[in-house]
Amino acid sequence: MAIELSAVRYRYAGASVFALRSIDLRLEPGRVVGVVGANEAGKSTVCLVAAGLAPGVVGGLLEGSVRIDGVETATLRPHELAQRCGLLFQNAATQLSNTTATVFEEVGFGPCNLGLPVAEVGDRAWWALGTVGIEKLAPRDPARLSGGEGQLVALAAVLALRPKYLVLDEPTSELDPAGTSLVAEALGRVARETGAGILLVEHKTDVLARIADEVVVLERGAVALAGAAAPTLADPRLAELGVEPPAAVKLERMVREAGIEWSAALAEAIR
């Protein structure tokens, strides 16, 4: 049971070069895998491929194998993929349907598309709102939310389809620190409470340090580094790969460079 990308190469329609050159990646339920990398490293493309939208909806050429729970994504239709793997983009505004008057209805939009009974749509909407922690937003107009709130609504809307996996493409990139914190807390809660596997593309490595179990570093469409989150985010090669390490790692280096002994107690005190 997992999302598995094996020897994946992917080229967008009309492009001459492969955006993904060699990707092997595995996401199991209950795990949070972070993906980082410099611009043009292929992070967003990995999201589209893992969620099955590329090449299914986007077009292009895919080589290798992308499977969700053993089923090739190429054999699944978009609505079937949506129930297995939810996808969240950077911009909250473009993810709203623009056809609903309240956040509750916006979250229920996906289940309604599936033609589920009204009672189940209600159950799922309340469950998703509760899991993300935004029940209070339910009566609000989705078009009148802050960036952070909008992103949480988009997350709840994806969750309402009850996918076993979530693929999140830089969900905090357009948010201020308060919005980032809101979304990071919600993601941690979702990971704990739903048991969903989360593939989180995020250039804010502090967020990954908080919630990721593993981290994959991409460079020009290939995996450059991969492993458990803490050692990978502390790897000195990170800077060469265009990734800024988390603040705690930078602080630790500064402390060591100053000749002060680094200890677990000090790390805990800083945290």
Binding site: V57, H79, L88, A93, S97, N98, G115, V118, A119
Partner: protein
Amino acid sequence: MTRLPDYVVRRPSGFYRSTNPGTKLVVAALEVLAAFLLPGWIGPAVVLAAVLATAAVARRLRGLATFGLAASPIVGSILLVNLFLLPGASDPIARLGPLAPTWSGLWFGLQTVARLLAFSSAIALVYLTTTVDDLLADLSRRGLGRRAIFVVGAAVQMVPLTIERAGEILDAQRARGMDTEGRIWRRARGVLPLAGPVVFGALTEVEERTMALEARAFSAPGRKTLLRVPRNGRIDRFLLWAALLALVALVGIRVAGRLG
């Protein structure tokens, strides 16, 4: 089993606001056709009287007045063009140098304006008395495809969002020193650079919107669930069929050449 919250199952209340959205659309279509097909002053006068009376009872006269105000530039230009330039008019009101406003030009201009106002106020009344989601829910209930419904809904909802975005871009350009105040040509010069970012920004978002919709099972087969079913009582149905019959009769009589 969860009960849906009241703000989701809400029903609009009040005269005409609670009327079925589909019925209101057909009534508006009848009014639009009547305003243009009935000869002379009868069409626009009857339609304007009906729309104004309905708006007054529905307490939407102020909103209608705002729409009327927004139409004033086009109303003014229609009047001026007909007043001075109606072909074949030879009954001058006065001589103003090379220009000669005519009685028949004034009369024709006023009638055209009346038709335009009748047409636009009939549509505006639907907008003022119906929420977009109620309209979409009713169209969906009547079997309109989900793609068509989405296009209608997204197009209507995109208008205020696009205006908001245009405002943000305008502010950004002003902050960088672009002059958007003053004479008309200067304002126009400021608006042109605005058009590019607004249009191209909207286009680049289309792909992401499409993918986001697919990620929410938009293309799932079968009928979509409706969380709220708009009222469609006996009066709504009677009004709908009466308006439809009147509409067909009006078009039939016009085609038969009986309306002059």
